[in-house]
């Protein structure tokens, strides 16, 4: 059986005033040894799903299995075999690095020495500060310690809820390199992120928005389904250029992407010439247009519209 199987999971939160449908019937499964990305903005339902899969929250309906165990009835077995790094730092702030790690190792009936090999690469980066209290660590060090604690009992499945949120581009890159080394140890990883560019670092991804899965595929599979020609346009006057493009009724969408705008037409009869004509009328400076391949964010926005 696959390490993670999710079948039609529904979760609704009710208060006196409002009903929030956090998960509206989610289904997908993750293969052994895969890095699987759950990609979507805040409020998409990522954390609710993580909490259900780690047996910390009960779903309203639907089934989910971790290594073949039911999240509702077999929570004891599941808790023994999964590692979970929540989005919010949840270690003991008043224990030192080493004390936190020893605590989690002991809880799982193991020792730091026994599984040292697994955490060695990560732990040696924070080991010089092992007597420092966790509450006094920088964001990047907290993140590394939390990952060590989630790994110390050699879990078969690792759940990482937004490990790179608020982390700078360099540290994010290093974190993903660590994940790829863990994958080689055979650990299955489900990781969530609001950064669309991290999709390309996953074996497969699920795009999630407002409690619904928009698409599940390999990163290449998702961008391959975009299905329409995409144009990158730029000029010195970026903001007026966008307004001019958006005013054209033939344009399906025009979104800024860094130094370019990405443009999609409603029908395929329109193309580069249409944009060149538009420029001929408005005479923008340094106007440039070329065809490009869509990225995950292009696809996410196109799927959000549907």
């Amino acid at each position: 059986m696959k390490p993670i199987v999710i079948e039609n999971i529904v979760k609704t939160y009710r208060t006196k005033k409002e009903v929030v449908e956090a998960l509206k019937g989610i289904s997908f499964s993750v293969n052994k040894g895969e890095i699987f990305g759950l990609i979507g903005p805040d409020g998409a339902g990522k954390t609710s799903l993580f909490r259900i899969l780690t047996t910390l929250l009960l779903q309203d309906s639907g089934k989910a299995y971790i290594d073949g165990f039911d999240v509702k009835t077999d929570y004891k077995q599941i808790r023994q075999r999964v590692g979970y790094m929540p989005g919010k730092f949840s270690l003991y702030q008043d224990l030192s690095i080493q004390e936190n790690l020893e605590f989690f190792a002991t809880i799982f009936n193991t020792s730091i020495q026994k599984n040292y090999q697994l955490i060695k690469d990560i732990y040696t980066q924070i080991e010089p500060f092992k007597d420092r209290k966790a509450g006094k660590l920088s964001g990047g060090m907290k993140q590394k310690l939390a990952l060590c604690c989630a790994l110390i009992h050699k879990p078969s499945v690792l759940f990482l809820d937004e490990p790179t949120t608020g982390v700078d581009a360099v540290s994010r890159k290093e974190f993903w390199e660590m994940l790829h080394r863990l994958k080689e140890e055979g650990i299955t990883i489900l990781v969530s992120t609001p950064y669309m560019d991290e999709a390309s670092l996953c074996d497969r991804v699920a795009l999630i928005q407002k409690g619904e899965i928009l698409s599940v595929n390999t990163p290449e599979g998702i961008t391959g389904q975009f299905g329409k020609p995409l144009w990158a346009v730029k000029a010195t006057e970026m903001f007026p250029l966008m307004n001019a493009i958006k005013a054209d009724p033939a344009v399906e969408s025009c979104y800024p992407f860094g130094q370019y705008h990405h443009v999609v037409f409603k029908t395929q009869e329109h193309s580069k010439e249409k944009l060149e004509n538009l420029n001929a009328n408005a005479a923008f400076t340094n106007f440039e247009v070329h065809s490009i391949q869509p990225n995950i964010e292009d696809c996410f926005m196109a799927l959000m519209k549907d």
Binding site: S138, T165, A169, F239, G258
Partner: protein, 247 residues
């Protein structure tokens, strides 16, 4: 963009004991400019921003914000700037109208003006009829757009935005930047930090802090040329990798 300088900093430095968090940074920001303030975690961005907002006294160097001195006139600075971050924005248990009234009131906007502002703000955000909605009930993206509009409700000379779009969906993120462009066109200077490198490319100029120093400052196009990179991501990685100190 006009030539009037809204921020000037010269050798601005902040030390905590023997640790130099901000190390002799010098730069100027023009009226209406969108100025990106980038750096790795721990590079000194927050400390620098706190000094410019009049919340932290520099150890040495000089700086003026909206024409006021950061040492002597920090109270005037606070009145003439707006501030918004992902973490601190609006009061969840107040309605949209109450939040606008609260913030505008704090900044001394008159009641009559607050009424007009509320109406125009709701129209700009396409949220007419939602005045009595609790902020808690709004989707994150709406909250962030509303928080930005409220941060500039008193028409400040400058607005400081600290990672304003973290966790926001990609469409709303772009709508947010449209609001930034509009504010900039009205002459409000934008000082923004972000971890999204595509957003760095929307800025007129970008500075990159490494170990408390500003190691690069130019337009995104020039930075990409200088560092032979095809995107700001490439520029950032080259510079931030040089960092010696941790967070």
């Amino acid at each position: 963009m006009q030539n009037e300088k809204v921020i000037t900093a010269h050798d601005l430095t902040k030390k905590f004991g023997d640790f130099t968090a901000v190390d002799h940074i010098s730069f100027e920001v023009s009226k209406g400019e969108i100025f990106g303030f980038l750096g790795a975690n721990g590079a000194g961005k927050t400390t620098a921003m706190r000094m410019l907002c009049g919340l932290s006294m520099p150890t040495s160097g000089t700086a003026t914000v909206a024409g006021f001195d950061v040492y002597k006139e920090n109270e005037q600075i606070k009145k003439n700037i707006g501030y918004m971050s992902q973490k601190f924005s609006l009061y969840e248990d107040l309605t949209i109208r109450e939040n606008i009234k609260f913030y505008a009131g704090i900044y001394g906007v008159s009641d009559k003006h607050i009424k007009e502002k509320t109406a125009s703000l709701m129209e700009e955000l396409h949220m007419q009829g939602e005045e009595k909605t609790l902020v808690r009930a709004l989707p994150l993206g709406w909250k962030q757009k509303l928080a930005f509009s409220i941060a500039i409700v008193h028409d400040p000379a400058i607005v400081f935005l600290d990672e304003p779009t973290g966790g926001v969906d990609p469409v709303t993120r772009r709508e947010f930047w449209t609001l930034i462009y509009q504010a900039s066109a009205r002459g409000i200077t934008i000082f923004v930090t972000t971890h999204y490198m595509d957003e760095a490319e929307y800025c007129n100029r970008v500075s990159i802090m490494v170990d408390g120093r500003i190691d690069a400052l130019d337009s995104p196009a020039n930075l990409m040329k200088t560092y032979a990179a095809t995107s700001m991501d490439g520029v950032f990685l080259q510079l931030a990798r040089k960092a010696q100190r941790g967070e």
